[in-house]
Amino acid sequence: MLNLMPNSILSPAFIGHLLAAILALGFLITLALFLRERRNLQKLLKDNSFESVRRKNAAILAEALEKAQNVVEKSRLSVDKFENYFQGQFNSQAEKAQQALDKHLETIRSQSERAELLSASYTKEKANGILERFEKNLESFLTQAEAKSTQSLESELAAVRQTIETYKKQQLSLVDENIVAMLEKTLGLVLAKKISLKDQLDLVYEALEKAKVEKFIL
């Protein structure tokens, strides 16, 4: 925090207290003189007549008043002197403080400007970095997404091809089964009507001979 009052002696409150103290001191001095004169007067009253006492008393009072006035005057002069001195000090210190404050404010302003420039530069750099990273990440993400999509499509295609191939094989297998079944049925019908007993027996003989060769029948 900026110290605007480098010397507390210059504060108005202090000056006020000082003036009050000076006035009190004058009053006390006056009171002391009055009491001394009163004692002298009482002493005189014992020795002299009333009139002389009254004159003396008046003279003393006048003298006391004069002295008191002198003291008060002197005090007033001292107060003015002090006031002027402290006012000067105060003004000088206030001016110095103001100058320091201005200087400090200037420093702050320049620092702030520098910080602002630095901040702008840092922000720009940071933003550029973020943008660059974002660009790289986006590019990487897009590449990965493309690769994944391609891979997914390829696997889907492979699965579809596999399904088609399996279906084709199953259908062909069914057709084959049907072809063989039809062939056997046709042969059964044809052979039953067309093949002679001799031919049938020849095939049976062939079977028996083969069984013998293979030693199926021992």
Binding site: D176, Q200, L208, I217
Partner: protein, 156 residues
């Protein structure tokens, strides 16, 4: 004495069922002849192919024992089961029987069964083991080649 009798009975009989049937017929004939029972026509139906000597071996004392022994011997013969895709007539059975005997020896017996699915040829069962020598099996063995040929034929 049993073996010549058995050979004569089986000479023109090629299945075990036929052999047993023939044996039972002969037994009835001889029992009727020896004990004067049965129909008089039985004597006339006696198979001539067996020869006159065949009947001389039988008398009232041994006829039952001999026929029991013969039946036992016939049942001891292990028959070859032949599955055929067609009904085999009597003359066909004789031809098949003679071929069997040439291949596997005398007194060889078979049992004929019908299986139209075989298409042609035969399937055999020997000693409880089945083996297919039919056209159906040949088609199965050459299945791929047949399918390939048929496919090529269809493409044209």
């Amino acid at each position: 004495m049993i073996q010549p009798l058995l050979d004569k009975i089986l000479a023109q009989t090629y299945t075990q069922t036929d052999a047993l049937n023939r044996l039972h017929a002969l037994k009835n004939l001889l029992v009727a002849e020896l004990f004067g029972r049965g129909k008089s026509s039985d004597r006339q139906t006696a198979p001539v192919s067996l020869g006159k000597d065949f009947y001389k071996h039988f008398n009232r004392n041994n006829v039952y024992n001999l026929f029991d022994t013969l039946e036992e011997k016939i049942r001891e013969i292990k028959p070859l089961v032949i599955f055929l895709p067609f009904e085999l007539p009597e003359e066909g059975m004789a031809a098949l029987g003679q071929r069997m005997r040439r291949l596997f020896g005398k007194n060889f017996l078979a049992e004929i069964k019908l299986d139209p699915n075989l298409l042609a040829g035969a399937a055999l069962v020997w000693d409880g083991v089945y083996k297919d020598y039919s056209l159906r099996e040949k088609i199965e063995d050459n299945r791929e080649r047949i399918i390939k040929t048929l496919r090529e034929g269809m493409k044209r």
